[in-house]
């Protein structure tokens, strides 16, 4: 036996043994957080995957495949109208930034080859906050109020920050890259209206399937709630018809995917989840086996699922262990959180935005982390501050931004983001 080769294995063995021997399973501090973490994971798996995340992946995939990016980029080009460019830059993250890794190249491109510093910065700031998946998940898990505040805050402040950057560096003439931006050519298969109805039907399914039970048992919200599956079904039928009429799927395929859904909803009227799962399986089968654009749609949706689910669920496990579910304590004591980001003081907001700006959040993990923090006593103002500063910036992406903008502009941008996020947190906390 050669010790040279085997000693590492022995060390690992001893390490694992000691770890097991001293495993603190009976202690309160250990069992609590682990339990919390698993309970939170189960809650996510039950409440959010089938009705919310899966449809959201299909929508994100559809945006990536069917929405013409060239049409949007036209408004961010070098000779675009400056005022329109700011507006488009602030909202186009919804369409262009479905995946966070595309934000930086687009930002650099708008800066060097397109509309310039202001719109580029506006895009960089709002992009990660208003991509479809982020909006849907924030609204669903952290509540409508915070979801809306995040989207509106990101759009408004991105324009403000863009204009300020432009104003600070107005005297500077940028040496434009010689190269003309290469924008993929896309042939248009459907009109804008057709695409709009198509997306509307998917968003309709998502919204109504997730319609929460309101507190009282009367009024408009309750009426909508009691008819939610009927409304969802109408959207689903429209959606299925469009797949045949505009996307060239064979009618018998769509019908054979829809039939089990109808049957299951008749057999199990009290458990709409079963029919919904059948619908997802049906849609995946007919799109996944297609070799044309609907096949591309499926593989793009699946790509998002592959990329985001592992990150999101590790985020849930970690957030659950550290912070616990709302109303329960995790590894980090609640009073630490109340002390640093509770209430709505300037200090709490500033701390939240600065921490958010430097910390790296993998795509969408900011949502479970925020949920944990809110449950442990974080104020809603600082929560918004963190949501605004967090995904837009992190230490690694600051380095990339620095290589594009230079050190001074990057520092100005980072400070503007922190200041703006703090202000929006303060305002939101007062509401």
């Amino acid at each position: 036996m050669s010790w040279k080769k085997e000693w590492k294995i022995l060390v690992v063995m001893v390490g694992v043994f000691l770890g097991c021997y001293f495993l603190p399973v009976e202690s309160e501090q250990f069992d609590g957080p682990i339990g919390e973490s698993l309970r939170l994971l189960k809650w996510y798996a039950r409440e959010h995957v089938v009705l919310c995340l899966v449809p959201a992946f299909f929508i994100a995939g559809a945006i990536a495949v069917f929405v013409s990016k060239a049409a949007v980029m036209k408004y961010l080009g070098a000779d675009a109208n400056k005022i329109i460019a700011y507006g488009v830059a602030s909202v186009s993250g919804t369409i262009l930034a479905v995946c966070s890794c595309t934000v930086l190249p687009l930002f650099a491109g708008i800066y060097r080859m397109g509309a310039g510093l202001g719109p580029a910065v506006a895009f960089l700031y709002s992009g990660p906050a208003i991509n479809v998946l982020a909006i849907i998940l924030t609204a669903r898990i952290l509540g409508m109020e915070l979801g809306l505040a995040r989207a509106i805050g990101a759009i408004v402040f991105s324009i403000v920050i863009g204009l300020m950057m432009h104003f600070i560096y107005r005297g500077e003439e940028l040496e434009k890259a010689n190269s003309q931006a290469a924008i993929p050519e896309e042939d248009i298969k459907r009109s804008l209206g057709q695409n709009a109805i198509y997306f509307l039907s998917m968003v309709g399914i998502l919204v109504f399937a997730n319609w929460g039970q309101p507190g009282e048992s009367s009024g408009l919200w309750f009426v909508i709630f009691s008819f939610k599956w009927a409304v969802t079904s109408i959207f689903a039928v429209v959606f299925a018809v469009m797949l045949v009429a505009w996307f060239g799927l064979k009618w018998w395929k769509v019908l054979s995917a829809a039939l089990p859904v109808v049957l299951l909803s008749i057999i199990f009227p009290g458990r709409p989840m079963i029919a919904f799962v059948a619908a997802i399986i049906g849609l995946s089968t007919i799109t996944g086996s297609d070799s044309g654009e609907t096949g591309e749609w499926f593989s793009s949706s699946f790509g998002f699922a592959k990329q985001i689910l592992p990150l999101l669920f590790s985020g849930v496990v970690i957030a659950g262990a550290l912070l616990g579910r709302p109303g329960h304590e995790g590894l980090i004591p609640n009073d630490w959180i109340v002390r640093s980001v509770g209430g709505n003081s300037i200090g709490a907001n500033l701390f939240a935005s600065a921490a958010g700006a430097f910390m790296y959040f993998a795509t969408l993990t900011e949502v479970p982390i925020l949920q944990g923090l809110l449950g442990a006593g974080m104020g809603k103002g600082p929560a918004l501050a963190l949501l605004l500063a967090g995904p837009a910036l992190s230490l690694p992406n600051m380095l990339v931004i620095r290589s594009v903008l230079g050190t001074r502009k990057t520092m100005v941008f980072v400070s503007l983001v922190i200041v703006m996020a703090t202000i929006s947190g303060l305002l939101f906390g007062m509401m």
């Binding site: 595309t102 190249p105 708008i110 080859m113 993929p184």
Partner: protein, 77 residues
């Protein structure tokens, strides 16, 4: 000998692109040199804003999506 450059900051799609390009090039049996351009300023010099992108001998062939090995074969031949 063709020079194949994959432009992208290292996201999963860029990796998928690299794999497809290698498959296509091997199936065609051409001699090639594969380079991954990850620096964002270098990517900009190609005029590419949407990654991943593929350049063959310095000429950008496709931008913003991952082509299948079949599509890449057409670009290479």
């Amino acid at each position: 000998m063709s020079k194949l450059q994959i432009l992208g900051t290292g996201c999963p799609k860029c990796k998928a692109m690299a794999e497809n390009v290698e498959t296509a090039a091997k199936e065609l049996g051409i001699e090639y040199e594969l380079e991954k351009v990850t620096d964002i300023n270098e990517i900009m010099k190609f005029g590419v804003m949407m990654t991943p992108a593929l350049a063959v001998d310095g000429e950008v062939k496709i931008v913003g999506k991952v082509p299948s090995p079949e599509e890449i074969k057409k670009m290479l031949s």
